[in-house]
């Protein structure tokens, strides 16, 4: 993080900037010894409670690796990851994760998929007791009618919405999203992004999103981290000072265009280096 760029100066920073830090990464590096891949190089990152941050970079630059380390799915080679004041030394139940694939299990109905985290943590009885809450979540995601359906009856967008419900059911304080909508068509994706924003604002969730779409990063985030490959490191931190709630028509504003250009510039520099 060499520089901090406020694309639009003299704008009041969003409330999230003053909130308490919840995720703190200090000098996190990751080397895969097998092929001597230096995937991450001294990543420093602070996420504040209720903030929405994105990391953007070409594929293969280490975004998923970063997310897995944050989630406690992989240990870092060096450095520390602190979540809510405690070091991350394995997976934790205050983290919710989502991937590019919805990963719903076809032998469970949609609602049974949604309560799966409860079933694993507290058993079958607790999962049954959570059905009402799950139904509420499905209603919020527009899937009320599909609670009893099996996943193969859902479209791609609906499956991802069900995956969002599953992620939220255990009330995690942080959401880690790895290109959650990149398999969807653009119209569905825009819609899903607005839904995601609404849900996160409602719950004051702290979100860290991995994406390779610049507009998606800008429309959703308070801060966008630009990552360069080999070794993966943050080359830029771009603060997005667009008012919330964001709407899709902001995409055509000059402010939005300026932010996109700035990020694209840094991405291209990273590629050329």
């Amino acid at each position: 993080m060499e520089r901090r760029v406020n694309a639009v100066p003299h704008e009041t920073e969003s409330a999230a900037q003053d909130a308490r830090p919840i995720y703190v990464l200090t000098d996190v590096s990751k080397v895969f010894p097998k092929r001597n891949v230096h995937a991450l190089d001294h990543i420093n990152l602070t996420l504040r409670e209720g903030s929405f941050s994105s990391v953007i970079g070409a594929s293969g630059c280490g975004k998923s690796t970063l997310l897995k380390i944050m989630a406690g799915l992989q240990p870092p080679s060096e450095g520390s990851v602190m979540l809510d004041g405690r070091p991350v030394l394995g997976t934790r139940d205050d983290i919710g994760m989502m991937f590019q694939q919805a990963t719903l299990f076809p032998w469970r109905t949609v609602i049974e998929n949604v309560v799966l985290p409860i079933e694993i943590r507290d058993g079958k009885a607790a999962a049954r007791a959570a059905h009402d809450q799950a139904r509420e979540l499905l209603g919020m995601a527009g899937l009320s009618k599909f609670a009893g359906a099996y996943p193969n009856e859902l479209s791609g967008g609906m499956a991802q919405r069900a995956a969002i419900c599953r992620m939220l059911v255990s009330k995690p304080s942080v959401l880690l999203l790895d290109e959650p909508f990149s398999a969807l068509d653009e119209l569905t994706r825009d819609f899903m992004n607005m839904e995601l924003q609404r849900i996160c604002m409602e719950r004051n969730a702290t979100v860290f999103l991995v994406t390779h779409s610049i507009p998606e990063a800008v429309i959703l985030s308070d801060v966008v981290y630009v990552m360069s490959p080999r070794p993966g490191r943050f080359v830029e931190e771009v603060v997005v000072n667009l008012p919330r709630p964001r709407t899709l028509d902001m995409i055509t504003t000059p402010r939005f265009g300026a932010l996109v250009d700035r990020i694209r510039g840094h991405l291209e520099m990273g590629v050329l280096e």
């Binding site: 897995k68 989630a71 406690g72 799915l73 997976t91 934790r92 139940d93 983290i95 919710g96 994760m97 991937f99 590019q100 694939q101 990963t103 299990f105 076809p106 032998w107 799966l116 985290p117 079933e119 694993i120 943590r121 099996y150 193969n152 255990s170």
Partner: protein
């Protein structure tokens, strides 16, 4: 074929003739459109016809190849004996018991070993080589040993049937446990699932289609095992009837007995397919054709 664009001439044609059909059907070859029942009947008639032809020309002796009519008579005879509760029904019952016990044992053994091989590094690295070695042995050669160990009763037949059917079930189960994708594994890890929960709630259900593939292969082997052991080790099953008929050069009888055995084999196979449809209801593709 003239190309008519709807913008200009289409309007004209529609106006003059009133009803130009714009709906057309993509036509395949007539050969591919023959209904299944007709096609199967045709193959049957063709096969039996060729068979009759070979018999009529007399190039092979009736001891080697009986006529279709003779075989049909024997099918009728055996069927009558079975339906009236004759001695053949007793034999069939014995063979079915051998097959049933053999299959159940193979499922229990195959599933257990399959889980050990598929789930543990110990099983995969240390146990699997031995299992492969056992599988590559000529299993039929074990029949005399099983008879020496377990006697002339059904136990020795069950043993060979189990031996032949177990390995495919091991492989199916183990392959199934590896079938879950990276995301499903990561999801279960982030949810804090224990190894047992991951196995029961994710890996085993994911692997069900593979497990059933193993069962289908095993279900075919189990019959072969039981009959082979009967050939070599006496007993009173259907295999013994075949052996006697064949010693008496009663080839038509042999044919008809084999046909009844294949019906039983098909029944077992269909039972597995039915179970798969029932338990792996989310798998849409044809369960019969996919091995």
């Amino acid at each position: 074929m003239t190309h008519v664009s709807p913008a200009d001439e289409g309007v004209h044609i529609a106006a003059s003739s009133g009803a130009v059909s714009t709906v057309w059907v993509e036509e395949g070859s007539w050969f591919d459109r023959v209904p299944r029942s007709v096609a199967m009947a045709a193959i049957f008639v063709l096969g039996v016809g060729l068979w009759q032809l070979v018999v009529v020309t007399g190039i092979v002796s009736p001891i080697i190849l009986p006529s279709p009519v003779e075989t049909a008579e024997q099918i009728w005879f055996v069927g009558h004996n079975l339906l009236t509760g004759g001695y053949m029904l007793t034999s069939l019952w014995i063979t079915m018991k051998e097959v049933f016990y053999g299959f159940v044992l193979a499922i229990v053994l195959g599933f257990t070993l399959g889980v050990i091989v598929g789930e543990t590094a110990f099983g995969e690295r240390a146990l699997m080589p031995y299992l492969v070695a056992f599988d590559t042995m000529p299993k039929v050669a074990f029949a005399p040993l099983f008879i020496a160990w377990l006697g002339f009763g059904i136990e020795s037949k069950v043993a060979l049937a189990t031996y032949i059917a177990t390995f495919p079930i091991i492989v199916g189960t183990a392959a199934g446990l590896h079938a879950a994708d990276e995301n499903a594994r990561m999801l279960f890890k982030t949810l804090g699932a224990s190894r047992w929960q991951t196995l029961v709630k994710m890996k085993l259900p994911t692997g069900m289609p593979h497990f059933f593939t193993g069962l289908k292969i095993g279900s075919v082997g189990v019959m072969a095992g039981a009959i082979t052991a009967e050939f070599l080790g006496g007993g009173k099953g259907f295999g013994e009837l075949i052996r006697i008929a064949s010693t008496n050069l009663h080839t038509a009888r042999v044919f008809s007995l084999i046909i009844y055995l294949s019906l039983v084999g098909m029944l077992i196979f269909m039972a597995v397919v039915w179970a798969q449809k029932r338990f792996v209801f989310w798998q849409k593709s044809s369960a019969v054709m996919e091995h």
